[in-house]
C-alpha cells in the first residue's frame, strides 16, 4: 500500500509538469524600485490571455547583495529566472559575462525606439543592445514649501552647489541625499565629476582611465567637502525620513520618491527643480532598470513577449503616472495621462538628456566598491588625501589588483 501511494505520488508529480494545458509561469525578479510590479505582472498576465503567467520575486535591496545573488545564480546557470529587472549599472558586466540571452534581431528596433540616449547607452554593451530599456530616473532637487525662496535661491535657473549649501546653512535646514540601495555615494560622486566636465571611469577594459585626480575630480571633491563641512550627512538610507522631519529642507533624490510612503506627510508641500550644478549645466545622476532575459531561461520566447508587454506604451504610462519612475521611452512623456499625473516632466525630461549615468564598464561594481571603501566613512573625508587614495584604489580595482 505504501508502494502504491509512492507510485501515485510519483505519477502525479510526473504529470504535473507535462500537463499540456498548464500556463507556463514566468518568474520575474525585480529590484527595490517603487513600481507596483505585482500589478504590472497581473496586467501583462491578463493581456497574454493564458500564454504565460508572470510571478514576481524580490531581489535584495542592497546593491552588493543584489549583485552577488544575481552573479551566483547566473554563473550557476540557474533556470528559475525568466525575466530580470536589471540595474543599468550591472548591464555591461552581465552582458560581457554572457549571462543574458541575446535580444532577437526583430525586437532590437522596437525596444530601442525613442529611448533617451543615456538610457540606450547604458543598455548597450559592445555595440549590441543587451536589455530592453525600461525606466530611467534622474535625480532632482526637492525642497519643502518656500525654503528655496527663503534661502535666496532662484529656482527658475540652475542652482549651484555652493549657493545651495550656503543657503541651507543660513536657514538651518539640511540637504539630504537619498541612497536607496547603497549605490548613492557612487552616483553622487559620478554626477559631480561629470558636472565638472570630467569622467569618473573612462573605458571598458582593465586599463580604463579614472578621473578622480583630474581638475574635475578635485572640483567634485571640493563640493563634497563644502557640503560635509556645512554639516551634511552624505548619501544615506534615511534621507527621506530626515527630509520629512523637523529640520528637513532640501532633498536630492530620484523622481520616483514622489510616491514614497516616507514622504507621504510632506508630499503635498514638495517642489522640485533641476539637480544642482558644479559648473554651468545641471548634470543629474541617472539610474534605471532594463528588462533582460537570462541565457538559461527556459521560455525565452515567452519572456520576450512579456518584455514587449511591459515596455508597451500603456504599461510605461501607468508606471510614470502612478509611481513617478521616468520611462526610458521619451514619447511616454507626451501621453496626456502622464502630463496630468507626472508634473515633474519639465524638469526630468531635460535632466534625462543632460544627466550622467554610472560608467558603462564590466568593472563598474569593483570600481564602486573601491570608491565606497576609500570615501567612507565620510566624516574622515578630506579633499587632499581621500581623492588620491581613491584614485589609486579605483584604478587598482579595475586592473584586478589589491589596493
Amino acid at each position: 500500500m505504501a508502494a502504491a501511494a509512492l507510485l501515485c505520488a510519483l505519477a502525479a508529480c510526473g504529470s504535473a509538469g507535462a500537463k499540456p494545458d498548464a500556463t507556463p509561469a514566468l518568474t520575474w525578479y525585480v529590484g527595490p524600485d517603487r513600481a507596483d510590479t505585482a500589478a504590472l505582472a497581473r496586467t501583462c498576465t491578463e493581456a497574454a490571455k493564458g500564454a504565460y503567467e508572470i510571478k514576481v520575486e524580490q531581489l535584495p535591496t542592497d546593491v552588493d547583495a543584489r549583485h552577488a545573488l544575481l552573479v551566483r545564480r547566473l554563473v550557476a546557470k540557474d533556470t528559475s529566472i525568466d525575466l530580470l529587472s536589471l540595474d543599468s549599472a550591472f548591464t555591461a558586466e552581465f552582458a560581457a559575462a554572457g549571462y543574458l540571452a541575446p535580444l532577437p534581431e526583430e525586437l532590437k528596433a522596437p525596444f530601442a525606439q525613442d529611448i533617451a540616449p543615456a538610457a540606450l547607452a547604458a543598455a548597450t554593451y559592445d555595440g549590441q543592445l543587451a536589455v530592453a530599456p525600461w525606466w530611467f530616473d534622474p535625480q532632482l532637487l526637492w525642497y519643502r514649501g518656500n525654503v528655496a525662496e527663503r534661502a535666496g535661491l532662484d529656482t527658475t535657473k540652475p542652482i549651484s552647489w555652493d549657493d545651495l549649501v550656503a543657503g541651507a546653512e543660513r536657514l538651518g535646514v539640511t540637504i539630504q541625499i537619498a541612497d536607496d540601495d547603497g549605490s548613492g555615494l557612487a552616483q553622487w560622486v559620478n554626477a559631480l565629476v561629470r558636472g565638472a566636465g570630467g569622467t569618473l571611469v573612462d573605458g571598458t577594459g582593465r586599463n580604463a582611465k579614472v578621473g578622480l585626480d583630474t581638475a574635475a575630480g578635485r572640483a567634485a571633491a571640493s563640493v563634497v567637502e563644502f557640503y560635509l563641512d556645512s554639516g551634511g550627512d552624505g548619501p544615506s538610507k534615511d534621507a527621506l525620513k530626515k527630509f520629512a522631519g523637523a529640520d528637513g529642507g532640501f532633498l536630492l533624490a530620484p523622481s520616483s520618491v514622489i510616491a514614497d510612503p516616507d514622504l507621504a506627510a510632506v508630499a503635498s508641500d514638495m517642489s522640485w527643480t533641476s539637480y544642482p550644478t558644479v559648473a554651468d549645466t545641471s548634470v543629474a545622476p541617472l539610474s534605471g532598470v532594463g528588462l533582460a532575459v537570462p541565457l538559461y531561461a527556459p521560455h525565452t520566447d515567452l519572456s520576450y513577449q512579456a518584455i514587449s508587454c511591459l515596455t508597451s506604451p500603456a504599461v510605461l504610462t501607468s508606471i510614470m503616472a502612478s509611481t513617478g519612475h521616468s520611462a526610458s521611452r521619451l514619447t511616454t512623456y507626451d501621453d496626456p495621462a502622464v502630463k496630468r499625473a507626472y508634473p515633474m516632466a519639465p524638469v526630468t525630461r531635460p535632466a534625462v538628456l543632460s544627466g550622467a549615468t554610472l560608467p558603462v564598464t564590466p568593472y563598474w561594481q569593483v570600481a564602486e566598491r573601491a570608491l565606497d571603501d576609500t570615501w567612507l566613512p565620510l566624516r574622515d573625508f578630506s579633499q587632499d588625501t581621500t581623492l588620491e587614495q581613491s584614485q589609486k584604489a579605483v584604478r587598482a580595482a579595475i586592473q584586478g589588483q589589491l589596493s
Binding site: 552573479v71 554563473v75 568593472y363 584586478g400
Partner: protein
C-alpha cells in the same frame, strides 16, 4: 613493504582530494580571472603573487589575523585548562557536563558571530558595560570574543583528555617523594599533557586563523581593520577576481603551514613518562 599495497588506494584518494583543488588553485592563481568577464582572462605568471606580497593592506590584514589567533588561542588554552581541571573533579553526571561544554562549538560560527555582535551593540555586553556605539572595531572585538567562547569548550575537552593521561601511580610516587604541588604540575602533569596541549594549540590556532564569519558580518565600507580571510572572501566573491583570490589563498595556505611548522616542534614536550 607489503603494507604499501593496502595503503596505495587510500593514499591515492587522499592525494586526489587534496592535490586536485590545490593544484587547480595554483593554476588559477597564475591568471587574471575576473569571473564576470571571461574575455579578460589572461595568464599573468607570478603577477598576482607580487601584487599580494608587496601590498601593505594585505600584510596588515595578516598581522591582524595573527594577533587574533594569538590572543584567542592563549585565552582558550588558559580558560580551557581551568575548565578541564574542574571537569575532571566533577563526577556527578559527568557525561552530561562534558557534552554541555561542547554546545557553543555545535553552533554555526556565523550564529555565534551574530550573537556576539548583537551582545556588544544592543545586547547584554552593551548593557553591563554601558557601551555606547562601539564602532566597527568594538564589533570586531565582540565577534572575536564570540570565537573565543565558541572554541573554549572543545579546547577544554582536548586538555581534559590529556589530564586523564596522567597515571595516578606516578602522581602517588611524586607525592611520596615529597614533590610540591608546583613541582608535581610542572614535572609530572605538564609533560604527560604535552601532546594534548600541542593538539589543542595547533588545532585551535589553525582553526582561528581562518576566522571569516565574524569579521565578514561586521565589515563595512571604509573599515580600517580587516582579517586576511575576509580579504580573500572580498576579492573572490565580491570583486570576483578569482585569480587574485586564489593567489591570496595560496599565501594563506603557506602561512598556515609555517604556523604548523613552528607550533608542532614548539609544543613537543619531551616525554618523561
Amino acid at each position: 613493504m607489503k603494507g604499501w599495497r593496502w595503503l596505495a588506494l587510500p593514499f591515492a584518494v587522499l592525494l586526489a582530494v587534496t592535490g586536485w583543488p590545490i593544484g587547480r588553485g595554483i593554476w588559477l592563481s597564475l591568471h587574471s580571472a575576473p569571473l564576470t568577464n571571461p574575455d579578460g582572462r589572461t595568464f599573468v605568471g607570478a603577477d598576482n603573487y607580487t601584487d599580494v606580497l608587496t601590498n601593505r593592506g594585505w600584510w596588515l590584514a595578516v598581522a591582524t589575523t595573527l594577533v587574533i589567533v594569538l590572543v584567542v588561542v592563549v585565552l582558550q588554552l588558559l580558560i580551557g585548562l581551568v575548565f578541564a581541571v574542574a571537569l575532571r573533579r566533577l563526577t556527578l553526571l559527568w557525561p552530561l557536563t562534558r557534552i554541555i561544554v561542547l554546545i557553543p562549538f555545535a553552533l554555526l560560527a556565523v550564529v555565534s558571530a551574530v550573537v556576539w555582535r548583537d551582545a556588544v551593540t544592543t545586547g547584554f555586553a552593551a548593557d553591563w558595560f554601558r557601551l555606547d556605539d562601539v564602532g566597527p572595531f568594538g564589533q570586531l572585538v565582540g565577534v572575536t570574543v564570540g570565537e573565543l567562547w565558541r572554541g573554549t569548550g572543545i579546547t577544554a575537552l582536548v586538555l581534559l583528555a590529556g589530564l586523564l593521561r596522567v597515571p595516578s601511580s606516578l602522581m602517588a610516587a611524586a607525592i611520596a617523594d615529597g614533590a610540591t604541588a608546583w613541582q608535581r604540575s610542572r614535572r609530572v602533569v605538564l609533560p604527560a599533557m604535552g601532546p594534548a596541549i600541542a593538539v589543542a594549540a595547533t588545532y585551535r590556532g589553525l582553526d582561528t586563523f581562518r576566522i571569516l564569519e565574524g569579521p565578514l558580518l561586521v565589515d563595512q565600507p571604509g573599515a580600517a581593520i580587516r582579517t586576511a580571510p575576509l580579504l580573500v572572501w572580498d576579492t573572490t566573491f565580491s570583486s570576483l577576481e578569482l585569480g587574485l583570490g586564489a593567489a591570496m589563498s595560496m599565501v594563506l595556505l603557506v602561512i598556515a603551514l609555517l604556523m604548523a611548522a613552528i607550533m608542532v616542534p614548539l609544543f613537543r614536550v619531551r616525554r618523561v613518562v
